[in-house]
């Protein structure tokens, strides 16, 4: 973990409420895909945890959805610096992927899949990706995954683009050796039930510190209590306990 200042070099909308921000700074602590950064914003007490979409040299890319005061404030930033804690969380383990892993991202669960796909492709894996959205106007990053060389399927709940339905509807038609996913909890639960192999899930929770000190984001797992921020956000399928 490291605390440092990042310079905002780009902050552009991808859809009506999803923004892409590129930041320049010390990215040395960001090693695994699926980890996150924690951003300090003026006038707000708690930092805002946001998943890492990509790291390229000293440039960090984050993609965030504008959902409240913090992200509304971030949307307005065109330049300046941000106080960022980097290298947080336990990310995806690519060593378990097998030859042809499947990546499933739902909504703002899509961004962490990008760095993961890039890593897996670099390791010589054949990567299939399913990106789930509600409707066509909410889709982002489809072309980015295609450019990496992934086999990309897009699903929309209303059928306005790609396969009509949920990511699990597209999952049935793909052969995969292992899977990785990030998205809203109902989606994760559906994947847990529908999946034919083992896999890794990234969870979301309201956090206090983001680095394991406050126990604000604990969950129960098969192997004991885990902190989403420190022991997660990525958990293995076998250790997940659904509470409701």
């Amino acid at each position: 973990m490291k605390q440092s200042l990042f310079e905002i070099i780009e902050n552009i909308p991808l859809t009506a409420d999803v923004m892409k921000m590129r930041l320049k700074g010390d990215t040395s602590e960001i090693t695994a895909p699926g980890t996150f950064v924690n951003v300090k914003l003026d006038g707000l007490f708690l930092r805002r945890p946001i998943s890492v979409c990509d790291v390229e040299g000293d440039v960090l890319t984050i993609i965030y959805k504008v959902v409240g005061r913090g992200t509304e404030q971030m949307r307005e930033m065109q330049n300046g610096t941000l106080d960022v804690l980097t290298g947080l969380g336990n990310g995806y383990d690519t060593s378990k992927s097998g030859a042809s892993p499947l990546l499933l991202g739902g909504g703002v669960g899509v961004p962490p899949m990008y760095m993961l796909a890039k890593r897996l492709i670099a390791e010589g894996k054949k990567v299939s990706v399913i990106l789930g959205f509600n409707k066509e106007s909410e889709i982002f990053c489809e072309d980015d995954f295609k450019a990496l060389g992934c086999d990309v399927t897009v699903t929309t709940v209303d059928g306005s683009y790609g396969v009509k339905g949920f990511v699990t509807d597209a999952m049935k038609n793909i052969d995969y050796t292992y899977f990785y996913t990030c998205g809203p909890e109902p989606m994760l639960k559906a994947i847990y039930k529908a999946s034919a192999t083992s896999g890794q899930f990234s969870f979301e929770e309201r956090m206090g510190c983001g680095f394991g000190a406050c126990m604000g984001c604990s969950c129960k797992t098969v192997t004991g209590y885990k902190r989403i921020c420190k022991d997660g956000p990525v958990l293995e399928k076998e250790e997940i306990l659904w509470e409701n």
Binding site: M1, F45, G208, C214, M215, S218, K230
Partner: protein, 302 residues
């Protein structure tokens, strides 16, 4: 350079800064970031007799200049704290540590404190009386002078180390409770614990926190903390450890002027993991600015 050391219940602290319980784990998460031996000491995660998962999530809510938490005393229980956490802590911290204890019955407090009192690395027992008393209709021990005194007496009977009673601000007369603890044998008082608060999400129209209510902390409560530290320290003759929203070296000095012998820093650690290290580094400069040579000299001069 001005002198930073203070004496807390017979043990000298290199400086008065103490990360507060629940914001610093058992220290080793922070030891990855800096040498935590720069601290006066720290108060480790609240320990109970039995292991506790705590409350369901969400446990955290944002507030103006602060936060609400309802973690619910998640901890592995006193046996595991002693067998697993303290050995890990010792690897990164070589000073006496403050053991924070909670309970839901007088016997629980006594049981847990007796065990921790025997640990060599423990310097003080900080007894959190803000928990609900399961035998007292769920009322917090800290809301009545009698119940707080009963806990104090039971703990003092089975321990040898200084016992500091950590008081809740959610009471009508904190002075009477502090006095009752002093009369019951407490060696020190620490305050304030968090203030009971609540946030409601406008989108869901439900409380943000699963437990509905939680403890409000952060800079927003600092003036309340200063006031209560002032009131209590002027009413008792035992040392007072001040806390509540402390975020800077200036806050530390203000808290000491109010009457605190040492100062705990809580929520600030969660948004800036280096907060305590930086406050300690800044203290000499701020002392010089206000003409303070020795921190001991300013305790309670306000």
């Amino acid at each position: 350079m001005g002198k930073l050391s203070v004496d807390l219940c017979g043990i000298e602290l290199d400086n008065p800064i103490i990360p507060a319980s629940g914001t610093f784990g058992y220290g080793y998460e922070f030891a990855e970031l800096y040498d935590i031996n720069v601290l006066g000491t720290f108060s480790f995660k609240g320990t109970t007799k039995d292991p506790r998962f705590g409350n369901p999530t969400p446990r955290i809510a944002e507030c103006y200049a602060g936060m609400i938490n309802a973690v619910g005393l998640q901890n592995p229980g006193v046996e595991k704290v002693i067998s697993e956490e303290l050995p890990k802590m010792r690897k990164c911290f070589n000073k006496k540590v403050m053991a924070n204890v909670s309970g839901f019955a007088v016997e629980d407090y006594a049981y847990t404190c007796e065990k921790l009192d025997k640990c060599e690395e423990v310097g003080w027992l900080e007894v959190n009386v803000s928990c609900p008393n399961v035998h007292g209709g769920g009322m917090s021990f800290g809301t009545s002078p009698e119940a707080a005194a009963e806990v104090t007496k039971a703990v003092k009977k089975v321990t040898t180390k200084p016992v500091i009673i950590k008081l809740s601000p959610n009471v009508t007369d904190i002075v009477s409770i502090a006095k009752a603890c002093e009369e019951a044998g407490a060696d020190g008082i620490s305050l304030i614990n968090t203030m009971l608060g609540m946030r409601i999400d406008l989108k869901t129209k439900k409380p943000v926190i699963a437990n509905k209510m939680g403890g409000f902390s952060g800079p927003a409560i600092f003036p309340v903390a200063v006031r209560m530290v002032y009131q209590v320290s002027h009413a008792v003759s035992i040392p007072v450890v001040g806390m509540g929203g402390v975020s800077s070296a200036e806050d530390v000095i203000e808290m000491m002027l109010a009457g605190a012998t040492a100062v705990e820093v809580g929520a600030a650690n969660l948004i800036d993991p280096f907060a305590c290290r930086d406050i300690i580094a800044k203290l000499p400069e701020v002392m010089a600015k206000y003409g303070i040579d020795n921190l001991k000299d300013i305790i309670g001069v306000a």
